[in-house]
Subunit: 269 residues, 4 copies
């Protein structure tokens, strides 16, 4: 049990760093995962930039976003985003809140973010927009009160991504890897849509295409392929999180090979 | 015979990595080459991100896109793109399927991709658009069935690049280096056209200019110059594929010198 | 006293390098800080590109922008920008003048730069525009005469950032870290506004939101988080300024830990 | 005499690499310099990508663009661009031909490139456009015949930069460093103008401002500051050209110091 929790903590640090290294997160934003042994807890870093997160930075929170043990460092102000989504959505295992420069133009103009290429539907069939003004009037735009977190979770509804007017976006996943995959490819879809709108009228996927493409792209094979790619890119940039007994390049390669073999076995069943 | 095949496998791994390193491919997409000794076979990697491909990842396929020997790893789902083009076009030796962020805006809006600068015609005189809806209705947009691959190959026709609505593009080449050259410079042309359309009405090359510029830019000299440049850029980034007896920097330099001398000899004849 | 001054000189070199490394400054532009022990003096580098500044490049100036001791090297031509703002604004401790490619489009078109996301108000409630033509007619656009510096300082008024038509921007801060934070995030806001205006009509923060968001984002916690992030990014790129007794990676980490603990103590009071 | 020629050859290799490293040149384009001891000769590399040029790649040409000694390698096809400008303009010492992605949108739309910020006038008061169609009809767009080179030189006239429709740009300088400075900052001006035109109507510098800003920015101080910056950036990326007795980091620093002292002396006279 300890081992799998240690592994998950390492993966969460890695997920933070991958999403930052791929240009979606900058000094702000955060990624969390539900506790693997207790669905009423989640893991989230102390207040630190995502690209710097180490496994030892991770804290355990209740779903009310209270720390289980008094933290040594400061905590993110907006952690209710995570807690409230875990409360509202038992099927969600991981959450990312970010301020991508590709997604923000949609949050600033109200233009709908729509799946424009085959990978786009990994962000879900529809991406709703939440505006803090609707329920809370003029705020500093931060989501820090439980009622604000609950309102955002309601706006997310059964979907996988919610835009936040004048602020950013929040993304959810059934697994940590699905979350990372959805976060990076919804950012890519936003970038492509922005560029397309600058030259003409966009023709997005229709409803049936969205419904067919979403599960297709969320299979283990494409997600595993991207995870290996992002991990090795991060490693080449010297950005892997530290580990007690830091993994050598050879170890990472062996692990990737094992993961790949496991996927093959699964897919052959 | 073994040696030239080994060399080609290394070059195919290198081609995958160059196209990714130059920003056209990301975690997805793939590059193949027809087997040098058997025109009814082609080489393509197991399911892996192009920037990570090693010679040992390469598998051999029939033109029906069946593996010649049972593969150890998973296979790309869309390999029929390659097989069907090799079937339809005996003059094609290499194929690349990608989702470039510069080309996708054209696939999303239906705006024609046109040669706007002297290098643009390397993508061919005309770049047709294929839409999966026309023959197959609402799909997940992936090209996985033989009839889908054949339909795409028909849309490509006698040209060298075909756009795929809401999906990406597929590029073909008479040689592997021509393919890489065409892929990178059609991406550059798309980038320039996007930027030009944001400030005014574009005035592309006329028909006669396209016909004259295409063969000019596809001569060995410009293609060799770019190949040396991209290879050394990749090498500086630590990204060359591994080799049994990995090539030292000195070896690469000597090889480049030999290639350069060979080009000189050819051009002096 | 010497130690704190040495530390500030190191921090000013670091601030120059961070702002350049984050893409706001290029070969030109400069960052200064008011002297910690004498409010009638400020520190600014000799004429050198910001990403190269070393503590030993820093010179001391009177508020009339005269060097306190004859400099060994050349001086920036536009240092009156700094001196005149320190004269007009006793609450200002640090100043940055830059030519960001995200901010310049606003200086070239006269379009108002407005806070479009929650971090935007760190640039202040309003960003005025100064045009050298209004008082000085046709110049070479450089701010080199005391009266030009004073005119710019008047245009800045009680605000924190002023755009300069056909030239760039000048940013002020209550502390050096606030200045860096404001400079980087006003650049981000400009980038997002540019991209948003390309796809639709922007809906910026309203007055009450701006007033609430500004102090919120200028708290020590977010500013400290970003500072740690930018410093480590710079360090990974081999770009930290030299120090007599250059700081080891371990020292930097210990210093970050101390800073973090200090922040926790402060926030717990 | 040998020494200064050796130094110039090194500087020309460096200039090629700087312009490429700053993103203006890619695999194509070239930079030349007039021979320091014989104004009827110029130095230009053999056919190779600019970021790879070594001093030993440089060849000597007559102003008719014939090699003075039979070259070991291939030659650039478009070298008449250089020769014809040196013939037409005795005041020109260095020439760069490029295909910058920021400048090409102007060559594709016919929109005028205008100085929009204080550095813009380093490209000259006016940037004319040359179209190969006007005199030569439908060509492959390459400038390879002497009459094509002479036509381009006539279009350049007394200016410092000429756009080439559907092709790129050619830039001239009184010195090699002025050329590099003009090339990089005209590219920056193009980038800013592109971004500004996407959000509103641009208001460029007026005639008097252009006339005052041009000589101001072409003084030794700003040009020397940028040169040091670009050289050290290139050095950090491992991209300095090789030298017989490759220069150590310490040597480069000492050379920069000497250059800086020399500038101080000059400016104190």
């Amino acid at each position: 049990m300890t081992n799998s929790l240690d592994e998950l903590r390492y993966e969460l640090a890695l997920a933070n760093r991958i999403i930052a290294h791929e240009g979606v997160l900058d000094g702000f934003g955060h990624v969390s995962v539900r506790h693997p042994h207790n669905p009423n807890r989640y893991l989230l870093a102390r207040s630190r930039s995502p690209e710097l997160i180490e496994p030892s930075d991770l804290l355990e929170f209740t779903l009310d976003s209270e720390p289980v043990t008094p933290p040594k460092g400061e905590m993110y102000g907006e952690r209710v985003i995570h807690g409230c989504i875990y409360q509202a959505r038992p099927d969600v295992t991981a959450v990312c809140h970010h301020h991508s420069h590709a997604v923000l133009p949609f949050c600033v103009t109200g233009v709908a973010l729509e799946p424009v290429f085959h990978m786009g539907p990994v962000m879900g069939q529809v991406v709703p927009m939440w505006d803090s003004r609707d329920e809370f009037g003029d705020t500093d735009l931060m989501v820090v009160k439980p009622e604000e977190g609950r309102s955002l979770a309601r706006a997310l509804g059964p979907n996988w991504m919610v835009l936040m007017a004048r602020h950013g976006a929040t993304v959810a996943g059934r697994t940590l890897r699905e979350l990372v995959f959805r976060t990076v490819y919804s950012h890519a879809n936003a970038e492509i849509q922005l560029r397309a709108m600058a030259i003409g009228k966009i023709a997005p996927l229709n409803q049936a295409e969205r419904q067919r493409a979403e599960p297709r792209q969320l299979q283990p094979r494409p997600m595993g392929r991207a995870w290996e790619y992002w991990t090795i890119r991060l490693q080449k940039a010297g950005g892997l999180p530290p580990r007690t007994g830091v993994p050598s390049a050879a170890k990472v390669k062996r692990a990737a090979k094992r993961a790949s073999k496991a996927r093959v076995k699964r897919s052959r069943r």
